[in-house]
Symmetry: C2
Subunit: 131 residues, 2 copies
DNA sequence: AGCATAGATGACGTTTACGTAAATGGAACG
DNA sequence: CGTTCCATTTACGTAAACGTCATCTATGCT
């Protein structure tokens, strides 16, 4: 019978965000913590969503894009009626992410090549200095 | 003896950005087109950098971060004196990108799992409707 | 010479994603 | 009971990344 909910401060500590950020996300309907009187209590669902929100941000998605995609990850019974539409959106999102991975792979390869070039230059200069 | 430079409009068409964007990037010292009288002429170097800028944006980097990283990709002789510092920065950048790739892989895997769950639900409902 | 077209240069506006400050409300503690 | 500590609400502020005029200039037709 653990609480299973977290206060705003616990959330902030756990995810390294500010209270303002969490309230802002709630205002934008990305999160929907329950209330105990005045105070917000963040559920497991909120935590799962926040994790996805922060991940999405690191991938360069806007909050609005993220909002539209969040439902993909928690498709529950209430959503099953529109499931095929959601599924379609998910396919597009997946394609985007795989494209991004391909681009990221290329970027990594290019950077590595540049670094090898740089390493050669360093080696050349050291040899020169020693010669 | 091809021109090897592009006008602002050619750049805009090629990269799908607006003139404002290119001027903004110049003001932020991300690009440095040469001048023919008044007019800007974008060189091959500018095009290479713009490509990296847009890529960086898709990965969620800010323009300021991108500015600091751009030199990694065009390390020329003038930079060789500070090459080891640059090299160090490049290593960090590479580590970040590889971390991001790992996260992206996980995100893709999770989304795929969700989609399979969704597909099962659809199948179940179809069976139910037919039964 | 007249005019269209392209680009340049300010300057102000806008959106996103929060930061920050002020006023308020409970709960807890000595 | 006063104070301290959280948290809430409201509201204004801000940095980043451009958009959107308005105005000016240069260039090329005709």
């Amino acid at each position: 019978m653990t609480t299973d909910t977290m206060t705003i401060r616990e959330m902030c500590d756990a995810f390294e965000v500010t209270p303002r950020t969490l309230r802002f996300y709630e205002a934008k309907e990305l999160l929907s913590p329950i209330r105990e009187g005045q105070k917000r209590l963040f559920t497991k669902r909120d935590r799962a969503r926040l994790k996805l929100i922060l991940r999405g941000k690191r991938f360069g998605f806007s909050l609005e894009e993220i909002r539209q995609l969040l439902d993909l990850y928690h498709m529950d019974d209430t959503q099953v009626t529109q499931l095929s539409r959601t599924y379609d959106l998910a396919r597009k999102h997946l394609a985007e992410m795989e494209a991004q991975r391909a681009e990221l792979d290329q970027a990594i390869a290019e950077l590595k090549a540049q670094m090898e070039w740089g390493a050669e230059q360093i080696a050349r200069r050291q040899k020169q200095a020693a010669g």
